[in-house]
Symmetry: C2
Subunit: 372 residues, 2 copies
Amino acid sequence: MSATTKAEPLVQKQVFRLPTYTTIGGRTIREVQVGYETWGQLNAAGDNAVFVPHYYSGTSHAAGKYRASDALPGYWDAIIGPGRAIDTDRFFVVSADALCNINVHDPNVITTGPASINPDTGKPYGLRFPIVTLGDSVRVHRELVRSLGITHLHAVAGPSGGSHQAMEWAAQYPHLVERVIHVIGPGFSITPWVIALLDAWVMPVRLDANWNNGDYYGGPPPLEGVTQALKVIALTARHWDWAQNSFGYRLADPANPPAAALDNQYRIQQAMQQNSSAIAGLIDGNHMIYTAKANQLYNLEEHVGSIKARILFVPAATDLVFPPQFAQGAAARFKAQGGNAEVFVIEGDGGHLEGLLGIAKAEAAIRRFINS
Amino acid sequence: MSATTKAEPLVQKQVFRLPTYTTIGGRTIREVQVGYETWGQLNAAGDNAVFVPHYYSGTSHAAGKYRASDALPGYWDAIIGPGRAIDTDRFFVVSADALCNINVHDPNVITTGPASINPDTGKPYGLRFPIVTLGDSVRVHRELVRSLGITHLHAVAGPSGGSHQAMEWAAQYPHLVERVIHVIGPGFSITPWVIALLDAWVMPVRLDANWNNGDYYGGPPPLEGVTQALKVIALTARHWDWAQNSFGYRLADPANPPAAALDNQYRIQQAMQQNSSAIAGLIDGNHMIYTAKANQLYNLEEHVGSIKARILFVPAATDLVFPPQFAQGAAARFKAQGGNAEVFVIEGDGGHLEGLLGIAKAEAAIRRFINS
């Protein structure tokens, strides 16, 4: 071996707690906690930090591994690490679980939401948990950032639902945030079509008889509803070409062709089911509903004028959720009002998920933006 | 009044019956019946006919009115009628309900499917009804066409699921069919992404506790599942721009803004719910599942060489189900093998539904094709 490989440091989940948090809507939640992870070191001035909010079904595990034996690193490991676009040799990178994070039963996720115990009653909130917006998660994360001694955010960078939160950071704290990297996002508001799409995403949870209007804790959870919800999400986050290129008309089982029985499947049907079933047990149905609501409420149209940050929009060419036309329109609008905006389009057949699985294609664009 | 308006003749639903029909899969169904409607007159040679198969949630009511007081005429009235592109002064136009038509409880729909009484048992079939393909509906309709004395089809023209059936006609009966007008269709097969999408369309029916594995006749039907299924269909049949232009961020009720409660809605959410609830009572959940299966099985890739008809492909620019790339690819392939194909793209923000609601935009292209 001519070169030694420097082992990357492992990452640890940590907990940030607030005794109380009052939502933008005016409701107070006691004993709020969210998990977080950090990479790199904060400098003495506290001004070399990058915050990374997560997407709808994501967590704060943006990069690295918890254990050397982990099968995969965090979702944006291709751009966060030593020498990478978001260079952890230079930057102190922080990510945190949002309020109502859907992966409640993942032991590495820490969040506060409908599945949490209400300290006032000793019972899970269910639908008695207050509505929270993405702006509320940002406010909680702002307190975390303050507690860590961060005085300035070199950038806030996130994909999809994380891109909305990045923009919320820039709108709520214009003098704290220098750059926004808005990956596979719609611009300054969610778009009306996606408001309806988010209803379709969580509809299966509500339709599951076990859901019981959100009161299922202690009984059987709406597991089939969660599974079917994940399938709708996985399909709409992909693209026609991905389906054609990855599956075509292959059969799940050539001995049981689709024409022979109602439940005989093509391979794409089987794969969607298997992938969703594999993770459904980690996920809480009420948290899916609350996070869908939070995304439906993402709307900064009235606050664009307050954003001081420079913005890099990174849409994906085949994204059917937030097609590039929206990011391009937002960039044009921001520039027309005197803002500084750039657009880099990720090519590939992966649909919306190019912003996660294909992020390496934007590595150079993000590196240039973050260093400029 | 300087001109008199010639009242169009009213259209009547009629019934075509077959004592038995054996499916392509080899199962025999007794007492098959499908409804049909006709416009214009068949000539003595029997060679001036046009057949119009219907789309997933459609019926044989392609044009005209049943009663002068009907609020709306059939879905393609803009192109079928006296002097229109499919000119009923020249052509004898026939449309028929498919097997497993979903609108079982519409008094104007006649079909045979899981909700029908099995003559062998005296009870509804439920999931014991055999799998039928779109090719099976075409074979039943071919017997109808024969019974009417039709010797030649000047054209077969249909939208979406009807476009698949039109192509099935051309593949199964190449010497009978002179032209195919394939509107908002994918070409010669359904596409893998839409195989998965059709699962998402009918998933809410299966998730409804009333569905009971298809045995709900005599008890409460899976009405909520059907309603939610119709919402998924209606959303995926539209487009981002349609949502923006038709609804924007308007609220369902300004006194109850979406941020204030989980069930407070934007107008687009409310409209999707109201539109689906209004028609769900006419629709059978099992028929939705069987018609989804029939569409999933649409695949003529091995039979393109047998098609003799000239084909006009009419995709819609904003179609997210069958975007124009598929029709364009199919046209190129058909021409490369020596076939005669043209493409006309319907512009507009209406998504897949441009092939129904925006069909007038293709009137001139269809007129030219049908007369050439």
